[in-house]
Symmetry: C2
Subunit: 176 residues, 2 copies
Amino acid sequence: MKIYLAGFDVFRADAVAYGESLKRACAEHGFTGLYPLDNTFDRGVHGRAAAEAVCHANLELIRQADCVMANLNPFRGHEPDSGTAFELGFATALGKDTWGYTSRHADLVQQIALVDGDAAIAMPGERYWDSEGFEVENFGLNVNLMLACTAHIVVGGPLDCLAAMALRYGAQGSVP
Amino acid sequence: MKIYLAGFDVFRADAVAYGESLKRACAEHGFTGLYPLDNTFDRGVHGRAAAEAVCHANLELIRQADCVMANLNPFRGHEPDSGTAFELGFATALGKDTWGYTSRHADLVQQIALVDGDAAIAMPGERYWDSEGFEVENFGLNVNLMLACTAHIVVGGPLDCLAAMALRYGAQGSVP
């Protein structure tokens, strides 16, 4: 089974080596990891032409994949990387299985909302707000509902997610 | 032509009234705006069941739409709202035309990168980094390449984007 490895890991200083480690972890479960930086394109191309080559190569990898595993940890603020979220949406529309992992186990109200006193429990039906006056989703979910209600969300890192996927798909990694 | 109005505007305190204003602006160009909060669902339902109802209703509105217009301004940090990015990816895979607007005209290097001295011009082929050690895309684009290379990006607000869409599709709003 082929897994597209989505996430802002491609922006790490050690992005290529990190991708190799993710692919080895996939292989240990009988999966084949497809990593965005696997794409070969002309590194001499700059600007929009280079961006378009990366974009189309990534979309092609997603089409080839059986499912997507996405790093949904916060990126440059409270939100996941927008490219990663886009790729989950793209894969969802194609009928792929999608998975996401994040270290944030608390729900969005506890992560973000300005609350008086004890924020340990978000009250159902209550409305909560962030520091800029935007409402915080109060559904008991730890990521945006469009992600949480379409993907399998695992609290932990990529190895935890792969373990959950192996349980789901079996050791040989076939979509049931 | 039906336009799905994606964005974190649904989290505004005046979300319903603001959505009505967006739909009026659509109507002035001969378009029909579909706003996520148009969805009717049982407000007495809480938690995951409510989230799933919203999610599926939004996906159904996107399926009904001819195109998506998305608010890609930064949300709770530097990234666009992840639900919005997901919806753009979903619509892209369905072959819908997608549009995004943002007030950020500068490219991502100028928006985000830590640079010494004059950051007015990002050098092609040069690598730039953010405060947490993640590379900043240097393609001269003002949003993540997965969005910039699949959607028409307009610098400005929703009215600017609708004006650009009217120019593209004509006054009667038909996809060419």
